[in-house]
């Protein structure tokens, strides 16, 4: 309380709302002390626009693809029905994706960057409050105009001018300072992992955490929320690697964390720094491939978009074998038999499956999760629509974390809510941190009586533990 009051009243503090990314621990702590971003947003209402810099950025980065997208839009509005915000907001025409992007980025381009503070606020409200960058609109446009990608680009322009939601300015700052989306150091992480191994060893004798193992097959990379808030996720992952005899390791340096709030914030240099940390760790340890945790934006930032931020022409991460999202690794060990599940323990109640945008629509792993469902559930009910045509959970693109647009996010959750209700299932499998959070929040807001889960706990409930791996008392 004292710290917040101090921030609110301190006339000696440099402005919190500015065009400078947060790159030091001190700056991060100062910003964090401004509860809810009260002072930050008050200052942001008065931040002027560096029009010259904006025009220069456009000249350097706004090329054929997006230029053409904005120019040839036929104003057909086929994109309207594709957008979760349009549907959730009672089909408000102003939520039509084309309208949203033409009145923001389209205007900035037309005016060659000659825009004011109020207009940038409108752009910020739209880019983060009316779009999760799920890219569903782009696959329904006759000209292939990807408005989700354009909103990502717009976020970059806005961020460079200092117009970014409070929590994402902090989030990008976290990655600058910690190479992780939260204030967790590599030492904290390794300690947490080893503590989990100690705790769970009595159930899984021989459970260890191989740290910095050179030449390992897999380098496992996680989301900072796991050591910070959900350490059991780490334990579950370690146990599954242990039970399947995986040759895995974790780095003891930065590069242990693979998410990127910087991507949601539009801080491209930070995205580069973040992903290079992961690749450096992979190269230092000479691992054969990366396996990520059950996270959508981690996969997008590190594997799909990451190679480009790291300057890799082939668009692929390092490693002699393809890098995998957790669901791909799960399917691999299910198919090879390394992970054996007891069919009698399959989920009997109706269960449905979320399709996280970041690795389904935007990375094609549609059939992977479905095949996994055939191993773990008896009564699997697809959402409608599903696969790459499924709707965003409503929490992606940073939406889950932004206080300023919490109301808008809660309205957006209605679409996923209705999809789940329509399946008749009360159990949602959701192998993605943001989707999991969004579904948790939709239950809190709309109380439809559902439960939801990642894959790891389900697998551990159903796994057949080889005899030699059971605790001595059990094996007897």
């Amino acid at each position: 309380m004292a710290a917040e009051a101090a921030v609110a009243n301190d006339q000696n503090l440099p402005p919190l709302a500015n065009r400078t990314p947060v790159k030091t621990e001190e700056a991060l702590k100062t910003l964090l002390a401004d509860r809810g971003g009260k002072r930050y947003y008050a200052e942001l209402k008065k931040l002027d626009v560096d029009k010259e810099a904006l025009k220069k950025t456009l000249d350097m980065t706004f090329k054929s693809r997006m230029k053409t997208w904005l120019e040839i839009c036929a104003h057909c509005a086929m994109c309207a029905e594709t957008c979760l915000y349009y549907i959730a907001n009672d089909r408000d025409p102003k939520q039509t994706p084309s309208y949203k992007i033409q009145t923001t980025l389209g205007e900035i381009v037309k005016r060659k960057g000659d825009v004011d503070n109020a207009f940038m606020w409108y752009c910020m409200d739209t880019a983060w409050g009316k779009c999760t960058c799920c890219t569903r609109c782009g696959i329904y446009c006759p000209f292939g105009i990807d408005m989700g990608v354009m909103f990502g680009y717009l976020r970059g322009l806005l961020y460079s001018q200092g117009f970014v939601p409070f929590e994402l300015k902090i989030g990008a700052g976290m990655h600058w300072v910690y190479n992780a989306q939260m204030d967790v150091t590599p030492v904290d992480y390794v300690e947490t992992m080893e503590w989990m191994a100690e705790e769970w060893e009595e159930y899984y004798p021989g459970l260890t955490i191989p740290v910095d193992k050179e030449g390992a097959d897999i380098m496992y990379v996680v989301n900072a929320r796991e050591p910070k808030h959900y350490p059991e996720d780490l334990a579950e992952a370690a146990v599954l690697f242990h039970l399947t005899g995986a040759d895995w390791t974790i780095p003891s340096t930065v590069g242990w964390e693979g998410t990127s709030l910087a991507m949601f914030a539009g801080d491209w240099p930070c995205c580069t720094q973040q992903v290079k940390a992961v690749y450096s760790a992979m190269e230092r340890l000479k691992v054969k491939r990366y396996v990520g945790t059950e996270c959508g934006h981690q996969h997008r930032a590190t594997i799909t978009e990451g190679p480009y931020w790291a300057g890799r022409r082939d668009g692929l991460p390092p490693g002699e074998k393809p890098s995998l999202h957790y669901v791909e690794w799960v399917l691999e060990v299910l198919k090879s038999g390394a992970l054996k599940l007891d069919p009698a323990k399959k989920i009997k109640e109706p269960v449905t499956l979320q399709d996280p945008c970041n690795y389904i629509r935007n990375h094609g792993l549609t059939d992977v999760t479905r095949e996994i469902m055939s191993y773990i559930a008896e009564d699997f009910r697809e959402m409608s629509p599903n696969r790459e045509h499924n709707f965003c959970c409503g929490g992606g693109g940073g939406a889950n974390g932004i206080g300023l647009y919490r109301k808008e996010r809660d309205i957006g959750l209605k679409v996923k809510r209705d999809q789940i209700l329509a399946t008749g299932a009360k159990f949602v499998v959701s192998p993605c941190h943001n989707c999991w959070d969004a579904i948790r929040d939709l239950e809190e807001v709309y109380k439809i009586g559902i439960k939801w889960s990642f894959l790891k706990p389900i697998l551990l409930k159903q796994v057949i533990v080889p005899d030699h791996m059971k605790p001595k008392e059990e094996a007897a």
Partner: protein
């Protein structure tokens, strides 16, 4: 006047049309950048590009076309007539034959006549849609109506000329000018989607084919 519009102006307008379209396509391709677009452009993307074009070039190919059946029919009928009538019209074919000695299959005059009326129905449908659909209305500007007018003018005047309404020679000249205006407008206006549809679709197809799932074999199902 007739000699001018059916002589030098034909050369000029077709020249502007061909060169203009070529310039649009070349500058589109030149402006692509693997690092800025974040797509590792390569020949590996060709199947994705083709898939992206083909699913959208035919009615009810993509999910979006299937979800919007009335609009799909209106759009495809409009475009089929827009391209089919001028290319396969007997009256135009005769001119090509006289000038260049080339000729091809033609529509019967009565078929072309009916197609023109169907084209008008489709055009009117598109205009009504712009007025009546609230999402389209919000997006629509005068420019959108102008584009439809530029595209429809050759057909209105062509119909009038064929049926010899008013003074034939005058209407014919206006018709020729309307057609040339449309050709010239194509590279410089939204009518450039004549070529940019293929460019933009190919680009997105490559994006999905290389980066967003195509490497895993299945790629996106449009």
């Amino acid at each position: 006047m007739y000699e001018f519009v059916s002589g030098p102006l034909v050369w000029i307008s077709f020249g502007i049309f061909f060169i203009g379209c070529l310039v649009r396509v070349i500058s589109y391709i030149k402006g692509l950048d693997w690092a800025k677009d974040r797509v590792a452009y390569s020949a590996k993307g060709i199947p994705g590009a083709v898939k992206s074009i083909v699913y959208w070039l035919f009615p009810f190919g993509s999910q979006a076309w299937k979800d919007n059946p009335v609009f799909t029919i209106g759009t495809f009928v409009f475009h089929l007539c827009l391209l089919g009538i001028p290319i396969f019209l007997l009256g135009h074919n005769i001119l090509w034959d006289e000038s260049w000695g080339i000729s091809w299959w033609t529509l019967s005059d009565s078929t072309a006549d009916w197609m023109t009326l169907i084209f008008f129905v489709a055009a009117i449908f598109l205009v009504i849609r712009r007025i009546v659909n609230p999402n389209v209305k919000l997006l629509t500007t005068g420019y959108d109506y102008l584009i439809i007018a530029i595209a429809a003018a050759p057909f209105v005047t062509g119909y009038m000329a064929y049926h010899q309404w008013f003074d034939y020679k005058t209407i014919l000249i206006i018709h020729i000018l309307a057609g040339e205006a449309m050709l010239i407008a194509i590279p410089f206006t939204k009518l450039s989607h004549f070529v940019l549809f293929f460019c933009s679709r190919a680009q997105l197809g490559m994006d999905y084919g290389i980066k967003r799932g195509g490497r895993y074999g299945r790629g996106i199902c449009w």
